[in-house]
């Protein structure tokens, strides 16, 4: 059997030339030529401004771009071949690129970056999203400083976001991870985060790359790994998160990337989350509660319609996933008119928990379980938007907080389902 390698020979040669570094910036890309130029410029100026003395490297893990993205990344290298532009740089800055595959895969990209970080003995690493249009050099400082200077292992960001942006985060990921693991990480799923080299190595050791089953795992796993390792975690406020227009059908892939790993992690992490009650805040640099930006127009009607038709059409599927009482309650609200429609927090939490339990038991194909959650999430989103349509930032925060408490309150219900299934 031919030995397969995660890193190509060429990439290893480049890593030899880079040598030991203090700071590593990872950029997973796939056809990001439009935005990547500005991103790498910011990264470069961030390194020069905030870490001028540190040995730094930019590592691009590319999923087979055909628009010249890797070239744009490697173009920000600073070395003695380009003397004039770099007079304000103390040392060489390597910006290197590797194409790990012909098709993008989050997991392989992250693993390539982690493997590079381990080989380069990077002390502090940061992963930056290639489409962060409004990235500032200072983000590097905010995400890296806690790791590099203050001994933290993992830094998640917080943003100024529109109150209805990231509903999956505010209505499921944040409250559920918080309730389960007891840590109030506001953005458990993020494409920008800082971490220590040690945490990266641990993660790599725990998820050997030969194990291909995790090729699609996303960043959420990394957050969970940090929690699992009892790492020192903090949050860093980064500023505005630009509203990236996503197509509505992005919801299902989004669920697959986030809820999937979360549900499957519950099984292996049972010993951790089963003993946690309540939750602890974690330190945040910068403003604590995100300020909210100007409103966007939302097609609420469509959300509710898709919920109602989904409940009707998928009743056969829901029968195998949900408890009878939950299903009948859903069917009842699906028939309600728009004005009296309410998908209550309690019902939502029960829905999610029952989905998690059914996911564990694989009552039907696990991917189908995740897909079946989509119409229900739309219903919950409708209620959330309706409740907070005229709410201030504080109101929305209170609302999210009470949802979190609901998740925490009903945790015994999840535990009970879990134990009965064992």
């Amino acid at each position: 059997m031919a030995e397969e390698n995660l890193l190509t020979d060429d990439f290893v040669r480049q890593l030899i030339n880079v040598g030991e570094v203090d700071i590593l910036v990872g950029l997973p890309t796939y056809n990001n030529a439009k935005t990547i130029g500005a991103v790498v410029q910011s990264v470069q100026s961030g390194i020069l401004r905030w870490f001028p003395r540190e040995r730094a490297v930019i590592i691009n893990a590319d999923g087979g771009s055909r628009d010249g993205t890797p070239g744009l990344v490697t173009g920000v290298s600073i070395d003695d071949m380009r003397p004039v532009a770099s007079m304000n740089a103390l040392r060489t800055l390597h910006s290197i690129s590797t194409q790990y595959a012909n098709t993008p895969a989050n997991g392989v990209a992250l693993r390539s970056i982690l493997a590079a970080a381990e080989l380069l003995r990077a002390k502090a690493c940061v992963v930056i999203s290639p489409d962060s249009e409004n990235i500032e050099g200072e983000w590097l400082w905010r995400l890296l400083r806690p790791v590099y200077k203050d001994g933290f292992d993992f830094v998640t960001p917080t943003y100024h976001r529109h109150k209805f942006d990231g509903l999956l985060v505010t209505n499921l990921l944040y409250p559920m991870t918080r309730a389960l693991y007891g840590l109030r990480i506001r953005e458990p799923y993020t494409s920008e985060y800082g971490f220590s080299g040690n945490l990266g190595s641990q993660f790599l050791a725990r998820n050997p790359w030969e194990d291909k089953s995790n090729d699609s795992w996303g960043e959420l796993r990394f957050t969970l790994e940090a929690i699992r390792e009892r790492s020192r975690i903090c949050q860093a406020f980064l500023g505005n998160k630009h509203h990236v227009e996503r197509r509505p059908s992005d919801l299902v892939p989004a669920l697959r990337q986030t809820v999937g790993p979360l549900f499957s992690a519950l099984d292996s992490d049972f010993s951790i989350w089963s003993s946690v009650t309540g939750s602890q805040p974690i330190g945040t640099t910068g403003p604590d509660s995100p300020e909210l930006l100007e409103p966007v127009r939302v097609n609420r009607k469509r959300l509710r319609e898709m919920f109602s038709s989904g409940v009707a059409d998928l009743s056969s599927v829901f029968q195998s996933i949900l408890a009878a009482s939950t299903l009948s309650e859903l069917q009842r609200i699906a028939r309600q008119s728009e004005t009296e429609f309410e998908y209550s927090a309690e019902l939502w939490v029960r829905t999610v928990y029952e989905f998690a339990a059914s996911y564990r038991k694989s009552v039907i194909n696990r991917d189908h379980i995740i897909q079946a959650l989509a119409p229900l999430f739309r219903g919950r989103a409708f209620t959330f938007i309706t409740e907070n349509r005229n709410g201030s930032a504080a109101d929305v925060e209170n609302n999210i907080e009470s949802l979190c408490l609901e998740f925490e309150r009903l945790k015994p219900y999840l535990l009970q389902m879990w134990r009965s299934g064992q």
Partner: protein, 234 residues
């Protein structure tokens, strides 16, 4: 006359008794065979079950993905299914053996036919079982995809897929069972449709994203017209 009737009756009775006496031992043998067969089958089942449990067959089948399939067909665990199947086959074998002991002409032939037919039955059952699973799986996949893509009448689409797959599977099953002379024609007619379905499935699995993009292009024009902002879930 009366005597004649009585004589005929007693002769009939006598013949019946004689016949009964003639068949009784065989019947008893048959019953004994059936009983012993049940016992043996039961023991075989118990032994098989404990062996399978010992070697953790369930975990094996779970790793192989078979348990999930059984789950989806609302069947008990793989160990249970296998041991029950063995039980029934063994017992049925003994019963048929007993029946042949009765020495009824023609029946023996049928019994011999059954034993020749058994492997084909087994294959047919196998195909049917997995065909059913595939039908459930793909119809549910279509249902979920069309609900989430806001395609009209998802249940109809799902049912159509299910029906087509089941018809296809049945045609194969009948052919396997040798009852295909007439169904062959039907099956032939279905093949074209099945081919299309196969393509559709391949398209769906291999080009999920492509299909998604296609569906979006097809159905998103409506929402573009509404000119509403869409929210990012993350």
């Amino acid at each position: 006359m009366r005597e004649l009737i009585i004589a005929e009756l007693s002769q009939v009775l006598e013949e019946m008794a004689r016949g009964f006496a003639h068949y009784l031992p065989r019947l008893i043998v048959m019953l004994i065979l059936a009983l012993a067969g049940w016992l043996i089958a039961y023991v075989a089942k118990i032994i098989l079950r404990s062996i399978l449990r010992l070697i953790q067959f369930d975990r094996l089948s779970e790793n192989a993905g078979a348990s999930q399939l059984l789950n989806k067909a609302a069947l008990p665990s793989a160990t249970e299914v296998l041991s029950r199947f063995v039980f029934w086959v063994v017992w049925l074998g003994f019963i048929l053996l007993g029946v042949s002991v009765l020495g009824i002409l023609g029946l023996q032939e049928q019994v011999a036919k059954f034993f020749i037919f058994l492997p084909r039955l087994f294959v047919a059952m196998f195909i049917f079982f997995f065909g059913l699973l595939a039908a459930t799986f793909f119809s549910r996949a279509v249902l979920l995809a069309s609900v989430n893509a806001n395609v009209p009448s998802p249940r109809f689409l799902s049912l159509a897929v299910r029906t087509v797959i089941i018809v296809f599977v049945l045609s194969i099953v009948f052919e396997e069972l040798g009852l295909a002379e007439q169904t062959m024609l039907v099956a032939f007619g279905i093949v074209f449709g099945a081919l299309m379905l196969g393509l559709a499935i391949a398209f769906g699995l291999g080009g999920r994203d492509l299909a998604q993009a296609f569906l979006e292009r097809r159905f998103l024009r409506i929402s573009k017209d509404e000119n509403e902002d869409e929210l990012s879930p993350l």
